[in-house]
């Protein structure tokens, strides 16, 4: 209907759209748009432009910006258009303004007045248009200008207005929570709105509020549950149905809210079990939207206090997702699995092969999701396999954003679960080598500290072995052409500190290597500085050991260069080196003691060693020192700067607006009195909220399961930031505990190794699954809860063999299911499941797009063609329609555009396509004809323009 009604536009506009539509390249499009800008600049400021024409100009401006060019010259005209009397013109004006301007634009001030006027309009559509603008354009400062009116509109008789008013208020809350903190009770009230649309919209602000402060909304659990129940029981109007599912988007929103409210709260969770269970039972699992709801149920179930029955249902859904052929469902399944294993880690095991398939899938999205899952299920028994996989993947990708993320995950896992120092060093080397410039510098410092401190205080040989292996590996790596700066810094430091310690490498060899580094990375001053200091250490250690050192020629020339360096830091280091080399062994040993990087340096902050000197000076008549706090009004140069710094913040001009008079204080009383009615309890103020938040973690840790990931093996983080370690809040200083951890660690690792060996030996190759995959599965999932049990009982062999039996069983069953599933070909996205009777009756489940989707699968093409033919037989009249019109050919050419020409089974497929076109072919033919009249011909240029989106 809209199409014929809407072609009022001028020929000029149609031509513009046509030329943009037919542009073959970005350059061509740019040329058209630049041309258009010139035209508009000329025309738009002409006097007395009729408003319909003006509306068109404004839409042309929208085009200009949408295609990436600046249209700011016309903004003011869009602003003016918001004053117009005609609703359509006004709304177009508002639309353009919201698209053009950000909320801090200077022109906004001109619109606020119009908005205020429009909010009072008698026409509810005008009010709606203004409210749309409010929620996009009003910033913190202008909120007070419209707030009273928006609040008034919350009680407007039209539900559309109430809905938009709620969302405007939501926007204010997002912008500046304090500006509406006295109004949050309105959200609670609107939850009980008679109109499901208003109620549904109200869930958005409530979700935000609850995210920030769960405890104030616990009383609403019952309401949310009962709303959800009513929705599930189809007590909302049919208009909200989507694909036979009652108000699915509202269901999802409610489940999200319940997940928040039930998290770590047994009582609240108990109230939700029934309704969530109902959804699990009733939900249609064959449609996308049904699966979307089921996924949300899983999220909810894994967030609230665990209920065995629901967890079982969730596990069932997950296994269905993972076994599905649709990548979308697999993705959701992997994500859901990642959520559920926090509560029941054992369910990962039955899906091991599916997970490995996802991991090896060429689809990057799926792969990443799977890595996320592996990250969540890492423990000391599988850390090696997982981190190795991650690193391989990290090396293979180019996307820096994700590279950084995965690198930091590798580091985190390595720090937390590393089975041995050697492995840790090697892992870090790989991470640094390939993503060194992306990881946090702290990681480098952690690594240096680990090498310096070692991990077992009693075990010096292990420490020195660790150091030697680090030195060796670094000397090896230095051969690589281009290394990240951060990594080079670590290498230089370690070589300087420990390069000659074990006597394996001569001083001159290390010195030569360091000089090479300084030379090869001569642009990097930090690396050079590290190298020079390392050189100094090597030289001094040699001197202190009583060996004579001759300065190598390359070192000599490096020093000469640095002595004249523009960097004062490098210069100073070079001069220091020169000076130190000249000293005798004793002095040198004092300046640069060997292996002393871990020694604490005592800093005498009071400078007490100067007391004698001060006494002497005072006796000579010097002014005594007056502490800063006792000085007043004295201009003290040395202090001046720091003081200045302080002052700037306190005494400078204040640019921020004066605080708004907050009605909180007054309004706090009325809600308080209302609180007894319990419909509108008082919103919490800031400080109690904070205290709630601090209590929340302790509650959740009581709840236990959510923390499981960290607890699994009682593994503490051995390296890295101490904040991460769950149980070592006191262990920072206690050495003995560290040692204990270290030992259990090593033990765990060796048993794990022996275990994987066992599984490898006793394994009999299964029918279809490649042994590699199984091996991977075993090493990834093998550990799990069983490792712990074994450790407890000590029946190593029997346990692990029974474990094997189980494992060999699992793949078989999953294979069976897979083979069962193959005959029904994968069900592609249900493009045509329109949920409207007319559609389903005229078009049997086939459409051109769907066919294209299935083209890769030849068997499906055949069946699709059959369908198409039967469709054709059923509706000969449509065929006739098509054969009469010239549009037929064009549509065909549209279907046959370049990227699709590689279809197998050519002609038959093509023939069936136009027949299966949309619900009402007459409509589209009329449209084609109309467009032709307007001078837009569906040329071969861009035939797709005419193609029905819904097929």
């Amino acid at each position: 209907m809209g199409s014929q009604g809407g072609f009022y536009q001028s020929k000029e506009f149609l031509d513009l759209v046509k030329s943009i539509g037919e542009a073959r390249s970005k350059a061509e499009e740019d040329r058209i748009v630049l041309n258009e800008i010139e035209t508009l600049k000329r025309r738009i400021s002409e006097p007395d432009i009729p408003k319909r024409k003006m509306k068109e100009y404004i839409i042309r401006l929208v085009y200009v910006e949408m295609l990436g060019h600046d249209a700011s010259f016309g903004y003011i005209h869009a602003v003016k258009m918001t004053h117009d009397d005609s609703l359509l013109v006004k709304r177009t004006g508002y639309l353009a303004v919201t698209l053009f301007l950000n909320e801090d634009h200077d022109l906004i001030i001109l619109i606020v007045n119009t908005i205020q006027k429009d909010l009072k309009s008698d026409n509810f559509l005008v009010v709606c248009a203004a409210l749309n603008a409010v929620s996009k354009l009003i910033n913190e400062e202008t909120i007070p200008a419209v707030l009273p009116q928006v609040v008034e509109l919350l009680a407007h008789p039209k539900e559309a207005v109430r809905k938009k008013a709620i969302m405007a208020l939501h926007r204010f809350y997002q912008k500046s929570p304090s500006s509406v903190s006295h109004l949050v009770s309105n959200f609670r009230k609107r939850l009980c709105d008679n109109d499901p649309g208003v109620m549904g919209a109200t869930l958005c602000p409530l979700f935000d509020l609850i995210t920030r402060d769960v405890n104030s909304y616990k009383d609403l659990v019952i309401s949310f549950v009962s709303i959800l129940k009513q929705v599930v029981e189809r007590r909302v109007p049919k208009a909200y149905d989507y694909h036979q599912m009652p108000a699915p988007f509202i269901q999802i929103k409610l489940l999200k809210i319940l997940a928040l409210l039930g998290s770590g709260d047994k009582q609240s969770s108990a109230k939700m079990y029934t309704v969530v269970g109902d959804i699990f039972r009733k939900c249609d699992s064959s449609s996308n939207i049904g699966n979307a709801i089921l996924y949300e149920c899983i999220c909810c179930v894994s967030s609230i206090y665990p209920n065995p029955k629901l967890l079982e249902s969730a596990a069932d859904v997950i296994s269905r997702f993972l076994k599905s052929d649709s990548h979308n469902l697999k993705y959701m399944g992997v994500d859901a699995l990642g959520r559920l294993i926090k509560i029941s880690p054992e369910i990962a095991e039955q899906h091991q092969l599916a997970v490995i398939d996802c991991l090896e899938d060429p689809d990057d999205t799926l792969k990443r999701k799977t890595f996320e899952l592996l990250y969540k299920m890492t423990k000391s028994t599988n850390v090696e396999v997982i981190v190795d996989r991650m690193i391989d993947y990290m090396i293979s990708i180019n996307d820096n954003h994700y590279k950084t993320e995965i690198a930091s995950r590798c580091v985190e896992l390595a720090e937390q679960f590393a089975p041995s120092n050697r492995w840790f060093i090697q892992t870090m080397n790989k991470v640094f080598e390939h993503a060194g410039d992306l990881v946090n510098i702290k990681v480098a410092h952690n690594l240096m500290r680990l090498i310096a401190e070692g991990f077992g205080e009693d075990d010096d040989t292990a420490d020195s072995q660790l150091r030697s292996s680090a030195v060796e590996s670094y000397l090896c790596i230095l051969g690589e052409p281009k290394l990240p700066s951060v990594f080079l810094q670590v290498i230089c430091w370690v070589l300087g500190e420990y390069g000659t310690t074990d006597g394996k490498f001569s001083a001159s060899y290390i010195i030569g290597k360091l000089c090479d580094v300084a030379e090869a990375y001569s642009n990097d001053e930090t690396v050079k500085a590290y190298a020079v200091t390392a050189l100094m250490k090597i030289h001094t250690f040699e001197i202190a050991a009583g060996r004579k050192v001759d300065m190598l020629p390359e070192c000599q020339s490096l020093m000469e260069e640095l002595l004249a360096s523009h960097s004062t830091d490098l210069q100073q280091r070079a001069y220091e080196l020169q000076a130190v080399i000249g000293l005798d062994a004793h002095a040198v040993a004092c300046i640069m003691p060997s292996d002393a990087s871990c020694e604490d340096i005592e800093v005498d902050k009071g400078l007490s060693f100067l007391n004698g000197y001060i006494q002497e000076s005072i006796e000579k008549g010097a002014q005594p020192y007056i502490p800063e706090s006792e000085r007043s009004g004295m201009l003290n140069i040395s202090n001046f700067r720091s003081q200045d710094h302080h002052e700037a913040s306190s005494h400078g001009l204040r640019f921020e607006a004066y605080e708004l008079p907050k009605p909180i204080v007054q309004s706090k009383i009325p809600p308080a009195s209302l609180a007894s009615t319990e419909l509108v309890p008082v919103p919490e103020k800031m400080y109690p909220r904070e205290s709630y938040q601090t209590t929340v973690p302790s509650v959740s840790s009581d709840a236990g399961p959510s923390e499981l990931k960290l607890r699994l093996d009682g593994v503490q983080m051995k390296w890295g930031r101490p904040t991460f370690s769950p149980a070592t809040s006191t262990s920072n200083s206690t050495i003995s505990q560290k040692t204990v951890n270290g030992i259990t660690q090593v033990d765990g690792a060796s048993t794990a190794n022996s275990r994987t060996r066992e599984t490898y030996d006793s394994r009999k190759p299964q029918v279809e699954i490649s042994p590699e995959k199984k091996k991977l599965a075993a090493s990834l999932f093998g550990g799990s809860s069983k490792t712990e049990k074994r450790a407890a009982t000590g029946h190593k062999i029997s346990k692990s063999s029974s474990h094997m039996v189980e494992k060999s069983h699992v793949p078989k069953s999953s294979m069976e299911v897979a083979s069962e599933k193959t005959p029904p070909v994968q069900q592609p996205l249900d493009l045509l499941d329109l949920g409207e009777p007319t559609v389903t009756s005229t078009v049997p489940s086939v459409d051109p797009f769907k066919q294209l989707e299935g083209l890769v699968d030849t068997t499906q093409v055949a069946s699709a063609v059959n369908h198409g033919l039967t469709a054709a037989a059923k509706s000969p009249d449509i065929m006739a329609l098509y054969s009469e019109t010239p549009a037929d050919g064009d549509l065909l050419s549209g279907v046959l555009n370049p990227s699709m020409t590689n279809m197998p089974g050519g002609t038959t497929t093509r023939q069936s396509m136009p027949r299966s076109k949309g619900p009402n072919p007459k409509d589209s033919l009329e449209k084609d004809a109309l467009v032709r009249q307007m001078g837009v011909t569906p040329a071969s240029q861009n035939p797709n323009l005419f193609k029905d989106l819904l097929g």
Binding site: V17, L99, L125, V931
Partner: protein, 143 residues
Amino acid sequence: MGIRFILMVNKQGQTRLAQYYEWLTLEERRALEGEIVRKCLARTEQQCSFVEHRNYKIVYRRYASLFFLVGVDNDENELAILEFIHLLVETMDRHFGNVCELDIMFHLEKAHFMLEEMVMNGSVVETSKANILTPIQLMDKAS
């Protein structure tokens, strides 16, 4: 915040509609659209309809020559967004009758009006087709 932006882009990578729910400058939009479209166009039909890009997750769906791309936060239900796209297309189809790319081009403002009814502040607020289309039909009648 949920939905961060909604884009309609054709197979040649030309933008047909763009609505952002957070402010980006013209240059940022241009760059973002270019990167995302390149990523999505490179994917096959069998792969997931979701792509991670920087801090966004893109949920996309293709109808004939037109791609509908929705950028969402990380904790959004991807399948639901996928169905939201379909709901949008169905709604446009009901209004335009066999909606095609050209309808959206000629009636850019109407497509935007529909979105304004369906999404506010980055959240889906209305999913009843009747409620979405009534204001637009009333407006058509009035003018």
